[in-house]
Symmetry: C2
Subunit: 164 residues, 2 copies
DNA sequence: GTGTACCTGCAACCAGCTCGCAAGTACGGT
DNA sequence: ACCGTACTTGCGAGCTGGTTGCAGGTACAC
């Protein structure tokens, strides 16, 4: 799978500045718990487990995989609970979810770079450089008045490796 | 719903050149039938009904709505048949389908402009100008090597009307 | 006209996701 | 430290969008 689906490898030296910016996020476990409480939500063991799983896994991840990771911290956690937790975290502003073509939606921490491209061949997920995203958003805004929200959708195509 | 979901209204004078270009397509019913035969596919009454419905309805449309329109030409046509017909037409290259967020996929004739934006508020569908699309595709290609296929996904955000 | 391979209608099925409900638990109040 | 209540969770049923297996029908080559 993609660069961001394997939490054990980092390979930071192979990545550009914009790629590393994509992986950075503004949330720690404490900040997230604080944000939850600020919204009148309780900080429960299942929610903490989902948050820890999200923090461990940089990059977009689908709910079944996220559940398996959260299960490491909270055995027996139910997938429906993870769906509800993700919805709660989205309301609070900690995560967003993107729809990448046919498959399930992908959950990710609400970071600074917000647009990803999914390979139709191998399913890998790659970030799109911030300057390209900016050009798209401002270009669309100026020509049509449409305000794009890059955190809520994904681009599709063929990645460099599969195209070769 | 959006500008392209109501086949009875045209309002051409309110639209820009790029918008009208979006509505033009390269297919007539005869050309499409020819393309089907060239691929070894039979030209049946249900398929003709779906094609006529697509030609009547400029712009993206989901399968349930397309089925209702096709039913006008071929009463009793089954939704599963329309799904299969759309898949066949996609193989032949007559249509593409885009995934627009949460809802069903949208089917459209394989025309000249390939990227649309869907309003999360009102569901309206607007084309993105060709120059913005080109900048996105070439910018992504040059910086990451990723080959985007704008015909297969949609952008999301808030349209000018809803933003106001 | 005839045969056959493809296509259609139908219903069952599947994936992704949501919901209703009873049991459990975080946390403000005391 | 304890209690009470309102929020959360696990669980299973259910919903939506889409696919598939199969028996019967039909386009089209001959």
């Amino acid at each position: 799978m993609g660069h961001f689906t394997d939490p054990t490898r980092q390979n930071v030296n192979m990545r550009t500045e914009s790629v590393r910016a994509f992986e950075r996020h503004a949330w720690s476990a404490d900040q997230a718990a604080e944000a939850l409480r600020a919204h009148g939500c309780r900080v429960t063991r299942p929610r903490t487990a989902v948050l820890r799983a999200l923090l461990e896994h940089d990059g977009p991840i689908d709910v079944p995989a996220l559940t398996r990771m959260a299960e490491f911290h909270e055995p027996g956690i139910h997938e429906a609970t993870v769906y509800r937790t993700v919805a709660t975290l989205a309301e609070v502003g900690i995560v967003t979810h993107v729809h990448a073509g046919h498959g399930p939606a992908l959950v990710r921490l609400h970071g600074d770079v917000a647009l990803v491209a999914v390979c139709q061949d191998c399913g890998s997920i790659e970030p799109v450089p911030a300057e390209v995203v900016d050009a798209l958003v401002t270009g669309t805004l100026l020509t049509t008045g449409f305000v794009l929200e890059p955190g809520h959708f994904a681009l599709e195509g063929i990645c460099a490796a599969c195209a070769a």
